[in-house]
């Protein structure tokens, strides 16, 4: 029986020809590290498998004895009773040995699987942000579920291979001792068996890949139809969607037909081979007896029996090679993860962050996610303890990068330093740093669980009363009370029954409850109505009065009363100062303020839409529920490149917009103002 395979996501991997980075020897020796812990179970299990193979070899021999005894000679039946009992005892014993071995093995295997999974999961959860962000969560999950499962299958397979090899060798030796010609004939079956297995794995791999891909398309279509069900209904589009599904479904069927053809060849051929083999043996035995008459009927029976016992393990063996290979592939990927060095790790003498000074200093920071593609350039500024800092800038200016990713040390900066107080954030433990900083991310993310559990996520020791108090302050209690079960309402599928505003406000409550020393709100109120937003702000000002706070926002009321406003533009810090200072400066901020912020309310905006800077593409926001990603995976592996390709081209296009154009745009806006 094969455990852990064929279920869950990530199975598409095993059909892709995988180039390993390590030799089998290296892999086995790494695996040995795990297997060593189970040395005794392995020895016992192997021992019992050996015994089992032995009984399988001896039983046909008993049958042969029986046949020989009754041929010709006049035995009494009572003389043969012991033989019958022996026959029974041996087969029963074989069963017992086999069972014990499987039992030991499955205990060991399940334990090992659990341990590998845990080690891998732990390693992955602390691994680099760049790796985790660039891989799809479904792919990472496939490492933990599918690859480990495959590994376990491989281990199990190895023991069964052992017993098969034993059976093959044992049967062959017995065959040779019975009659060498028959043994040779049996040998002829080996290439045929391997041929069948080869055809299966060669064509099978291709066909299965095609079938899987088609399956992925059907699955993707269905997933999409289900998540977009409300839209389909709103537009009366159900019929079209089912027609589209039907076409893909038909394609999947067409490939499945090929699979049926393959099966038609393989399975019947194996059984025909076995019948032909024993027919041949009977025939040859007759022919041998014609000339020499050395073979008894018992011998012939034994040969027939042994030939079967010889053939089936060979077929099994031939078929298990691809599986074994994919287990090695899985192991290779697993080892990759184990051996990966973390880019962001605590220095050996890391200390906890000090608790007295909340000033933050950015010194000459430049940063690129990908080689030389700088998203931040030469950022220098300082923030005094307790200051409220507002950050403005267009989408893609680098706001999230600077405050959500670098300040929290999700990524390490190569150039420049960030310090809190007088400590470089690289010199303190990540754990203490992150406890000090509270981050409300741009995408509201909720965990499966109750609303209460979600809010308690960052402050497990807080009481329910604390939660309710915070929620009251930010006006969240009003809608939480309106939920079917209030605070005990389950958040499912990332919160599909909540509006995005509701999701966002829960994430704010979560961070506020955690009570960090330094707060970062990354467009944290963008999905709230102005009224609720103002309550959140009031609460934030009250609760974080003396603490350093960074607010990335677009709304005027949030920005203008900050002590410091930081204006980022294309990765550069272009202006910094209080609202008044920046207005006096009459630069970019003043422009923005005059054309946009002032008009955020009622007035007509007198800028022609055509005059605006062309829009850009944003970073992917993940909106699909985790399960769905798992299901639709498969076919999306290719999709990733496609998307980045398109983005690349768009980026090029956007680069055509020179700084001059941008200045022109600004000027034009000013002129229009004057005309008024």
């Amino acid at each position: 029986m094969v455990h852990g395979s064929g279920r869950g996501p990530g199975r598409a991997f095993d059909t892709i020809k995988y180039k390993r980075a390590r030799s089998t020897k290296v892999l086995v020796s790494s695996l040995w590290k795990y297997l060593k812990r189970y040395i005794w179970p392995i020895i016992y299990s192997t021992g019992f498998i050996l015994l089992y193979s032995l009984t399988s070899l001896v039983t046909p021999f008993i049958a042969k004895l029986g046949i020989d005894k009754v041929t010709g000679t006049s035995e009494t039946f009572s003389a043969l009773i012991p033989l019958t009992i022996l026959f029974l005892a041996l087969t029963a014993l074989g069963w017992v040995f086999h069972s014990i071995s499987v039992r030991i093995m499955s205990k060991m295997n399940s334990k090992m699987l659990h341990e590998v999974r845990m080690d891998l999961y732990e390693k992955l959860s602390f691994s680099d942000m760049s790796y985790l962000k660039n891989e799809q969560s479904g792919n990472i999950t496939a490492r933990v579920t599918a690859d480990t499962g495959e590994l376990a299958t491989g281990v199990q397979l190895s023991t069964s291979i052992l017993s098969q090899v034993l059976l093959i060798i044992g049967s062959f030796i017995l065959l040779v001792t019975t009659n060498w010609i028959i043994a040779l004939i049996s040998l002829a079956a080996i290439p045929v068996a391997f041929l069948i297995a080869g055809v299966l794995s060669y064509f099978g791999r291709r066909i299965i890949l095609r079938v899987r891909r088609a399956f992925g398309f059907v699955s993707g279509k269905m997933a999409e139809g289900l998540s977009g069900i409300a839209v389909a209904k709103s537009f009366n589009r159900e019929e079209e969607l089912s027609t589209e599904l039907r076409e893909l479904n038909q394609k999947h069927y067409n490939y499945s037909k090929q699979f049926g053809m393959l099966m038609m060849f393989v399975m019947p051929s194996v059984s025909a081979l076995s019948y032909l083999l024993f027919t041949m043996i009977v025939y040859v035995s007759g022919w041998i007896n014609k000339t020499t008459n050395v073979l008894s009927l018992g011998d012939i029976y034994l040969s027939v029996n042994l030939s079967q016992q010889f053939l089936f393990p060979i077929i099994m063996l031939a078929m298990s090679f691809p599986q074994l290979e994919s287990a090695f592939g899985a192991m290779d990927r697993i080892i990759d993860i184990f051996e990966a060095k973390r880019a962001v790790s605590d220095v050996h003498d890391a200390v906890n962050i000090q608790t007295t000074d909340d000033s933050v200093h950015f010194k000459n920071i430049s940063f690129a996610y990908e080689e030389d593609n700088y998203v931040l350039k030469d950022i220098i500024f300082s923030v005094n303890p307790g200051e409220l800092v507002a950050v403005v800038g267009h989408t893609g200016a680098g706001k999230t990068t600077l405050f959500s990713s670098l300040l929290t040390r999700f990524y390490d900066i190569e150039e420049g330093t960030i310090s809190i107080g007088n400590q470089d954030i690289k010199s303190v433990t990540q754990s203490s740093l992150r406890q000090a900083i509270g981050l409300v991310t741009q995408e509201p993310f909720l965990f499966t669980g109750t609303v209460m559990e979600n809010i308690l996520y960052g402050a497990p020791n807080a009481t329910k009363e604390d939660v309710k108090e915070i929620c009251k302050k930010i006006n969240a209690d009003e809608f939480i009370d309106a939920l079917p079960n209030g605070y005990d309402t389950l958040v499912v599928e990332g919160g599909k029954k909540l509006s995005s505003g509701q999701r966002q406000i829960i994430t704010i409550a979560r961070t506020m409850l955690a009570d960090p020393r330094i707060l970062v709100l990354d467009e944290a109120t963008s999905r709230l109505d102005a009224y609720t937003e103002s309550l959140v702000q009031a609460a934030q000002r009250e609760l974080f009065k003396e603490r350093t706070t960074f607010v990335i926002a677009h709304r005027l009321s949030t920005i203008s009363d900050a002590e410091k406003i930081v204006v980022l533009d294309h990765g550069k810090l272009v202006e910094i100062g209080s609202h008044k200072e920046l207005m006096d400066l009459d630069g970019i901020y003043a422009d923005l303020y005059k054309t946009y912020y002032v008009h955020q309310g009622l007035a007509e905006i007198d800028v022609d839409v055509e005059d605006l800077e062309p829009e850009e593409l944003e970073e992917p926001a993940k909106n699909v529920s985790p399960q769905m990603i798992g299901m639709i995976k498969g076919d999306h592996m290719s999709g990733k490149n496609e998307s980045s390709l398109n983005k690349e081209e768009t980026r090029k296009h956007l680069e055509k917009m020179s700084p001059e154009d941008k200045q022109k745009f600004m000027k034009r806006m000013k002129e229009q103002k004057k005309l008024k």
Binding site: S110, F126, L226, R237, A272, Y283, V304, N305, H599, V624
Partner: protein, 609 residues
């Protein structure tokens, strides 16, 4: 192909797919076994051919003894050679039968799989939102994909192999019967016992298998959630909590895996065949000594028994798969037979949507909950009016819009469109007159063209680009390398929130509804987006009745009627100026909207309290 759609009833609407399905198959079992009714000839061919091939294979085995008897008595004679020749011919014919049968059977089963999948999807898709609210879409997806596969696997290969096994048991029994009555009867009886025990055994292993599958699904879900939310996990320094959560499930999986291993280790039905084979061995020897068996027959008997016991390990696996298939079809059937609270009227009526709309004492709780999220609402909307809905999160604004699309029926009260109750209309009539632009825009991962023309598949390119232009998105689209053929979403480029919103507006423009519903609770976006959105929305609201959930002061001021909601109730209804004058809640809200130019008393650029 299976399916039932495309048919129209006399009223001009599509037939009720669910009703047709329930009528046709009656029960989960009916649905499952309908597989054989769908392609009866193919399956019949399979059955006949498998019978033939099993017969020939068994015959070949039985001939061993005959050949050996010839050998013993006549030596390497013509009779011996003839028997061998016969065996080879049998093997070849049997091979041909088995191949063609397997092929036809598998094709028929893949067809069944295709048809059932399509059927499932169409029926599920036809359920109202009440179904989708309580069912996890990942689970439904896995039903439609994996569980349908398992149903197919129950038919092919499981039922096929079980059938072959039963054929070989029956045929072997008949052969043995001819040799010796007692052996024949014993084989027959013990295999019946064996099958029963194997079935019981399979029923024990089956649930563990299913539990394992569930464990693995949980494991993936937990892991995916953690990696998707890694920013959050990391920023709260909560790795250990997540690792423990994973560890708990992983441990559960390991325990279940061990349990399954233990059960399959001691596969005790095998003991029956062991005891029985040994007994036949002894009995056969006795018969030979007695003289009623020739040696050849004895060998044939042994060979036949050996062949049978090879089925040993196949049968339980097939039984487990069959059980899983039956259970899955039960689950799928239950989902398909969901009792929908929203039903189509027997005799649907139609109404004029560009007339007055009235809400009469509407109360509403989402199906499967009893919390009233709308409480006794009454109001009227005049033809062509611009209505603005305002209120805090969770006050019920979006719910009102959903009722107007007839995604749900009100729990109490009636919504009248020009005097006609909405619940007496067919949903497709409602939805061809009403269009909603939701808050969280859903776009299909398809080309922009396909997304915009979603509501009107026969739209010309000009119509599409016109709509895009009016929605202020054409400039952006035309800057993309593939323009309208750009694929978006999972498989393509990602759009920002504002861009998605405008694509949805273009989509709505093309559908040209009589009543427009717009859910626009998001308001703070960067300047470019804000400007474009405003213009796009103005275009969209032109010349039709519209109901807009909004925070935009411009929209509020321009509205003919503002409905202010709080916790599912109406606080007040009136125009901007009326509400400013008399409604405290409204004044309070307006104070927090960014307002300049003195249109409201309190200018709150500072926004400080």
């Amino acid at each position: 192909m299976a399916v039932i759609t495309d048919k129209k009833t006399t009223s001009g609407y599509n037939v009720d797919i669910q009703y047709e399905l329930l009528k046709k198959y009656k029960s989960a079992n009916g649905w499952f076994w309908s597989a054989f009714k769908r392609y009866p000839l193919m399956y019949l061919f399979g059955i006949i051919v498998f019978g033939a091939s099993t017969y020939l294979a068994t015959k070949t085995t039985a001939l061993i003894g005959e050949a050996l008897d010839y050998l013993l008595v006549e030596g390497f004679s013509t009779n011996f050679n003839k028997t061998i020749g016969l065996m080879i011919i049998y093997v070849i014919i049997s091979w041909a039968c088995l191949s063609s049968g397997a092929y036809v059977w598998s094709i028929a089963s893949f067809r069944v799989q295709r048809d059932m999948r399509q059927e499932f999807y169409e029926v599920i898709q036809d359920h109202s939102m009440a179904f989708f609210d309580v069912n996890d879409s990942g689970v439904i997806l896995s039903m439609g994909m994996n569980e349908i596969n398992q149903i197919r696997m129950a038919i092919h290969p499981s039922i096929r192999m079980l059938m072959t096994s039963i054929f070989s048991i029956v045929i072997t029994t008949v052969f043995l019967w001819q040799y010796d009555f007692i052996i024949g009867v014993t084989v027959a009886v013990s295999f019946v016992v064996y099958l029963i025990i194997a079935w019981i055994y399979a029923s024990k292993v089956g649930p563990i298998r299913r539990k394992l599958a569930k464990d693995l699904a949980d494991l993936s879900a937990t892991s995916q959630e953690m990696f998707r939310g890694i920013d959050v996990v990391r920023s709260f320094d909560n790795h250990n909590k997540e690792i423990n959560k994973f560890g708990y499930i992983s441990n559960e999986y390991a325990l279940d895996m061990k349990k399954e291993g233990y059960l399959s280790a001691f596969y005790w039905p095998a003991l029956i065949t062991i005891v029985f084979t040994a007994a036949s061995f002894g009995y056969g020897i006795w018969l030979v000594i007695e003289g009623s068996f020739s040696i050849g027959i004895f060998i044939s008997v042994l060979a036949l028994l050996m062949a049978l016991s090879r089925q040993n390990f196949m049968i339980p696996m097939r039984l487990i798969m069959l059980q899983a298939g039956l259970q899955n079809s039960k689950r799928l059937w239950d989902s398909m037979a969901f009792k929908d609270p929203l039903t189509q009227p027997e005799k649907p009526v139609e109404s004029e949507w560009n007339k007055k709309i009235s809400f009469n004492n509407i109360s509403f709780a989402y199906p499967s909950t009893d919390k009233k999220v709308l409480d006794n609402l009454s109001f009227q909307i005049q033809a062509g009016a611009r209505v603005a809905l305002i209120g805090g999160p969770g006050s019920g604004k979006s719910t009102i819009l959903k009722l107007l699309l007839r995604l749900y029926d009100p729990t109490e009260g009636d919504i009248l469109i020009n005097g006609v109750s909405m619940s007496s209309m067919h949903t497709s009539h409602v939805r061809s007159n009403v269009t909603m632009v939701e808050q969280d825009i859903f776009l299909f991962s398809d080309t922009l063209k396909a997304n915009i023309s979603f509501a009107k598949r026969d739209a010309t390119d000009e119509e599409i680009s016109k709509a895009a232009e009016r929605a202020q998105i054409s400039q952006f689209i035309e800057s993309l390398p593939n323009q309208y053929d750009t694929v978006i979403g999972e498989r393509g480029v990602t759009l920002s929130g504002g861009q998605r919103q405008r694509v949805a507006i273009a989509r709505a423009l093309l559908s040209n509804p009589k009543l427009l519903l717009l859910d626009d609770s998001t308001s703070a976006v960067d300047i470019k987006t804000e400007l474009r959105l405003r213009k796009a929305m103005d275009e969209l609201m032109k010349d039709r009745t519209s109901i807009v959930v909004t925070q935009r002061l411009t929209t509020l001021v321009a509205a003919d009627m503002i409905i202010l909601m709080k916790k599912g109730r109406i606080v007040d209804i009136g125009s901007h100026t009326e509400l400013l004058e008399r409604c405290q809640d409204y004044q309070f809200m307006c104070q927090h909207l960014p307002i300049t130019n003195g249109s409201v008393a309190s200018n709150d650029v500072g926004g400080r309290n």
